[in-house]
Amino acid sequence: MKRFLARSRGPHQNERGVETIVADADGIITYIPQLRRYARALTGDFTSAEDLVQDTIERGWKRMALWRPGSDLRAWLFTIMHNLYVNQLKAGRRRTSQGIGHNEVDLPVSPAQDNQLELIDLNKFLQRLPHEQREVVLLIGLEQLSYDEAARVLGVPIGTVMSRLSRGREQLRSMMNRGSSAAQLKVIK
């Protein structure tokens, strides 16, 4: 709220503040596609992902006053999304390993046949990872955050990010090797 108090000193500052807020709103809109991509991969479910994006936008806008202009808006939004997601998991509101989504996950993986059209179900593999590892693998591998940025978004030391990344990638690798023949891994070329 500091920014608002400071702004009430004079009309000139008021105007500048207004401009900043309009720019911030545009800023959030700019990052919606990336927030959606991350949420889709993180939750593995269209509806949960869209809800998570919705909550992130709303909270982001409500807390815009706490965002420091000049700092990285994208990382800040990812941080909000991370906190919301973890809170959801804690509250158990989201269907997790016992939910509907998981029935699918438990289906036996069909043995690798000659059927090269069968694509790996990446969602299934991602959802099998512990969420801490899934977040790191996605923030870095998909959203292309630096290791530092990922550490700040997740609020953990960089060493923790690196060990989660190592474990997450190694787990995915073994799932892919087990679940699919090499040919099936080639999604598109």
Binding site: V18, T30, I32, G60, Y147, S166
Partner: protein
């Protein structure tokens, strides 16, 4: 194993996969990998993971943004009285945007959508420090051949070095009706332009340059028979038009 390769850490391996290492260190990691087939297989698998993640989830980027999010971001009610003025401005901005949008839509919704997609792709990829492009300008021939093959038409990439814009490279993106190519240029100050290209085999239309302002991003777009182009940049309109003209001339010598 050399002394250098012995020093390759787990972090280096991941940094290599994610393209975060300086050129020299990359070389050292490559030397290390060439003598370690197991590590090499691991690195390939991780690179493949990143590629598959993008193949699966990048199409989400091209999904139209629901109107409710555009308005919720603009009209979220602040409790503080101090920002009533801000809200008024936001509403004015929203209304203005809405009217302008109406004006634009009446021209040709589909073409403007093309400009919007181009601006969106510009906004998403130009801030990338580590992976602005999939294939760099060093492999220009491969880049052009690959994208031509995927788009199903002969593409050409204009050189703009004399205008101060060096080709960075390009990438393949999902579009509404199939693959789209994006070429990226950069001037020494770091300012970037993107040229967004799609093919439409059924089109024989040619249009003049059209202009669209998408947030901070200015877009000039035009149809040139089977190819549609959109040039995007955070530039003044005149400056961008000058570049668009040069591109048009170089594509139609």
């Amino acid at each position: 194993m050399t002394a250098q390769s012995a020093a390759i850490s787990e972090t280096d391996i991941h940094d290599y996969v994610d393209g975060g290492l300086a050129q020299e260190r990359r070389g050292e990691v490559e030397t290390f990998l060439s003598g370690n087939p197991q590590e090499q297989a691991r690195v390939r698998s991780y690179q493949e993971q990143n590629r598959i993640l993008h193949a699966f989830f990048d199409p989400v980027l091209a999904e139209p943004i629901p109107a409710k999010w555009q308005t919720s971001a603009r009209r979220w009610p602040f409790p503080a009285k101090a920002v009533a003025a801000a809200l008024a401005w936001i509403v004015v901005g929203g209304l203005l945007g809405w009217f302008l949008r109406g004006e634009i839509t009446s021209r040709s919704a589909k073409d403007v959508d093309f400009a919007r997609q181009a601006a969106l792709a510009h906004t998403v990829y130009t801030p990338e420090v580590r992976h602005p492009v999939e294939v760099t300008a060093e492999q220009e021939e491969h880049l052009v051949n690959w994208l031509s093959k995927r788009l199903g038409g002969k593409l050409r990439v204009p050189h703009l070095a004399d205008l101060g814009y060096e080709l960075v490279g390009g990438r393949l993106l999902p579009g509404d009706q199939g693959p789209v190519a994006q070429f990226m240029y950069q001037e020494p100050s770091g300012k970037r332009l993107t040229l967004y290209v799609k093919t439409d085999p059924s089109s024989e239309r040619e249009t003049a340059f059209r202009y669209s302002q998408q947030g901070k991003v200015a877009v000039f777009y035009w149809l040139d028979r089977r190819l549609s182009y959109a040039l995007s940049g955070e530039l003044q309109k005149d400056e961008l038009l000058r570049v668009a003209n040069v591109i048009y001339q170089r594509l139609n010598p």
